[in-house]
C-alpha cells in the first residue's frame, strides 16, 4: 500500500532553494533518507510531517492532502514524528511527558492511555526512569524519550530525523530491533547519516542532495552504483573521489579505478559516495567553467 506519494515538492527560503522537484513514494516498511548536510533532509521530513508547507508540488499521505486543514489533521492522526532536535518540559517526568503527548494525540481514555504510555516507555527501555524528571535524564535517554513520544498511539507513519544520535552501541542495536519490528507493519521514514543503519534496516532508500532526489531504490541498488569503482591498493590514490586507509593497512578508493586495480565489493557507503561525490564534482566543474 502506498503510504506517502510526493510529486514535484519544492520549497524556497528567500533566494535559497531548499527542495526542488522532489518526487518519491513510501510504502510499508522502512525507507532510509540519506544525504549530505544541508541536502534538505530535515526540510523534507518536516513537510511530510505537516510541520512545514511546501511551496509547490503535491503530497498525499495515506491519500490525505496535508495542504488542507482537514487533510493535515487526518495525517497528524496517523503520524509519529521524532524531530532532529526534540524539545521537552524539563520539569515533567518521563511518564508525564509522553502522557501529555498522548493526550495531544487524542488518546483521552485515561487507563488506555496510561497503558499505551507504559508500553512505549518500555519499548524504548525507559521503564525504570518513568518517574524521573526529564532534566535528570542523560542525552541518550532524552532521545529515547522523544522516540517514545513519537511512537505513542501506534502511528501508521513514523518519521524519524536522525534518531540514533546520542545512543550508545547497545541502544542503537535495540533501536534497530524496534524499528525493524515497526517496519513490518508500518511505514517508517528514517533520516540518518549511519549507512549501516540503512543497510540493516531499510528496504528502500532515497538519496537527497542539494534539494533534489538523486536516487530512489533499494540499498543493494545504491551499493551497486559503485560496482567496478571501488578498489584497494597499498598507497593513497590522488585521483579518487575518496581514498582512505583501512584497518588492514590497505587503502580503499572510490572513483575511476586504474587499469588492473584490485576491485572489491562495494558497500552502500561506496554507492552513496559515488552518487554524491560525482554530483559534487560535476557541480564544481560546472562552477569552474562559469
Amino acid at each position: 500500500m502506498t503510504a506517502v506519494q510526493a510529486t514535484g515538492l519544492a520549497l524556497r527560503y528567500g533566494r535559497t532553494t531548499a527542495l526542488e522537484d522532489v518526487t518519491f513514494t513510501l510504502r510499508t516498511g522502512v525507507t532510509g533518507l540519506l544525504g549530505p548536510n544541508g541536502a534538505g533532509k530535515t526540510t523534507l521530513l518536516r513537510i511530510v510531517a505537516t510541520a512545514l508547507p511546501a511551496d509547490g508540488g503535491t503530497l498525499r499521505v495515506f491519500g490525505h492532502d496535508p495542504s488542507t486543514p482537514p487533510g493535515r489533521l487526518a495525517v497528524r492522526r496517523l503520524l509519529g514524528y521524532l524531530p532532529q532536535d526534540p524539545g521537552f518540559h524539563p520539569s515533567f517526568t518521563a511518564f508525564e511527558f509522553v502522557d501529555y503527548v498522548a493526550i495531544l494525540k487524542e488518546l483521552t481514555h485515561r487507563a488506555t492511555r496510561h497503558t499505551e504510555v507504559a508500553r512505549v516507555l518500555s519499548a524504548v527501555g525507559l521503564d525504570d526512569r518513568r518517574r524521573s524528571r526529564i532534566r535528570t535524564l542523560s542525552g541518550g535517554m532524552k532521545q529515547r524519550l522523544a522516540l517514545a513520544a513519537a511512537l505513542v498511539g501506534d502511528p501508521d507513519l513514523v518519521i524519524l530525523d536522525e534518531p540514533t544520535v546520542g545512543l550508545d552501541p547497545e541502544q542503537r542495536l535495540r533501536f534497530r530491533e524496534l524499528i525493524a519490528d515497526l517496519g513490518e507493519r508500518k511505514t517508517v521514514l528514517l533520516s540518518t547519516h549511519q549507512t549501516e543503519d540503512v543497510m540493516s534496516l531499510c528496504q528502500e532508500v532515497v538519496v537527497l542532495d542539494r534539494g533534489r532526489v538523486r536516487f530512489e531504490g533499494t540499498p543493494t541498488e545504491l551499493a551497486g552504483l559503485a560496482a567496478g569503482r571501488v578498489w584497494t591498493s597499498a598507497a593513497r590514490e590522488a585521483g579518487a573521489l575518496a581514498s582512505w586507509r583501512t584497518g588492514t593497512g590497505l587503502h580503499r578508493h572510490v572513483g575511476d579505478p586504474p587499469s588492473g586495480a584490485a576491485l572489491v565489493e562495494p558497500s552502500i557507503e561506496d554507492g552513496y559516495l559515488t552518487l554524491v561525490g560525482a554530483a559534487a564534482e560535476a557541480s564544481a566543474i560546472a562552477g569552474g567553467a562559469r
Binding site: 573521489l241 561525490g277 559534487a280
Partner: protein, 533 residues
Amino acid sequence: MTATMTVAAPARPTPSSTQGRRRALLALARFESIRMLRHPLTVAAALLFLAPWLWGWLSGSANRYPVLPDELITIQLLALPILGGSALIVANLVTLRAHRHKVDASYDVLVLPPAWRVGGFLLALLPLAGLSLLLAGVPVGDSAALPGAAGSVDIATLLTPSALTLLLGAVGVLAGVLIRSVLIAPLVVLLVLVLEFLVITPLIIETGWRFLLPVYVSEFTVPVPAGVSDRPAARHLAYLIGITVLLAAAVLARANARRQVVAAGLVVGLILAVGGGLTQSRPDPGLAAARVTVEERAASIQSCEIRGDVTYCFFEGFGGFVPGWDAVVTSVRAVVPASAASSGPPLAVRQRASLDAITAAGWTGSIAEDRRVVAGWKVEDAAAGTPEAVRVDTSWGDDRAAAALAAEVAYRLMAAKAYDGGNFLCGAPAALLVWLVGQASPTTLAGMRSLDETSFGALSFSDISSRYGILVPDRAAAPALELLRRADEVAPLVERHWVELTAPETPLERFGAIFGVPIQPLAPDDEALPCVA
C-alpha cells in the same frame, strides 16, 4: 567530496597571553556591538526615538523657535526609556544568549574566560552609546540650524543620552550575570521609569538630591536664560559615567575578574560617581545673583534690536525670536486705528523671565507678589529708555504664546501703557481686546481659542509659563468671540468708537449695544472680580 579539494592549514589560537586576550576581547566586543546595533529592538528604538522629530518635520508642527537647552532636556527624558531601555534589554539578551541557547557549557571551556567575555559585552556598549549620540544629535542639530533657535548646545548635556545608554546597558549586563531570566530586563526598565519619574522626582525635586537621578529634571517649567539654571551638566555626566564604571566593576567581580581590575574599576567609579555626585549639588554662589539680575534687572544684560519704530529687547541667545514677535506686533497694530497704533511712548517689547514663582513644583507666588514684581519691571523699563514695554515670555513658537503677546500688545495700544498684572480686565475694553487678538492673525486667533479651551471662568492670556498674563472674564470674552465672524462690519465700528471702547469705565453692555450682540447678565461671581482700574 572531491579529490581536488584543498584544505588550508588549520588556524590555531594564539597561545594565551594578555595581548592575545586583549585582541580577542576587542574582536568579541566588535562582534557583539554589531549584533547589538543590528538588533531589531535597537533599530525600533532608534526609529521611535526619532519619531516625534520626524512627525514634527513631516506634519509641519515642529517648533520653529526651539530653546536648545530645553530641547536637550526633552531629548534626555526620551533617551532614558527608549535608548537606555532598549540598551538595557539588548545587553541583557546578549549576556543571556549563551544560557538561552544552552551553549554555556561549551563556552565555559573556551580560551577566553568569562570575565573577559562579559568585558567584551560591556565594551560592545560603546558603539551603542555612539549611536545614541548620533540619534540625539539629529533633532538637536536640526533645531540648532533653525534661524529662530535660542540658546546654545551644551556638549555635556548632548552626551548625556550616550551616558544613559552606557549606564542602562551596564545594568542589563549586570542583570544578565546575576539572574538568568529575560523577564528581569524589561521589569528593570519599568522600575527605572517608576523611580525616575514617579517616586524620586516628586519627592526630591526641590532638593539637591535631584542631581543624583539619571536624568536631571529642570526645576523650571519654562526656558530660562543662560547662567540661571543650576544644571552642572559636566559634573552630572561624570557622575553617570562613574555609576557606569561601578556597575562594570560589579559585572567583572561577578565574573571572577582579577581583583586588581575590579579594584581599579571601583576606585575610578567611586571617584567619578562620588566626586561628580557631590560637587554637582554644591551651591553656586553666583547663581542667586544671576537669577536676581535676570528677573529684576534684565535690561542690564539684554540686547535690543529696533525694527521699524519698535524696540525688541531679549536675553542672550534669544534674538532669533524677534522676527516672530515682530510679526505679531505688526498684525495687532494693523487692526487698531492708525492713531492708536502709535499711542503712548515708543512701542517696546522686552523679554522677561519670572524664575522664583514658576518651578516644576507649580506656581508658588501670589497676586500681590506678582504685582510687586511687575511694578519693579515698569521702573526698570522706564530707566532703560523703554517705558511701558510690552512683556514677552522666554518660550515662543506656538499659537498660544502668539496670542498671549498679541493680548499684551493690544492692551498696550488700547491703554497707552503696559498691563500691570494681577487683576481681571473688565468691561468694554476686555471685549475689545479679545476681538483685536482674534482679528490680528489666524495664528493669534488659533492661540486664543486654544487658551479658551483650557481656561475656566475667564480667558487667560497666559501660557503656564507666564504669571502675568491678561485675564478676561468669560462674560466679556463671549460677545467678542461671537463678533469674530462679522469682521467686515465690526472693524469700522471699532475705529469709530475706539476712544469709548478703550475707556476703562465703559461697561460691557455698551459694547453689546454698539455691536448688537447680547451680553449675559452679571453673575454674583462676576461682581466680585478684581478689575484693572
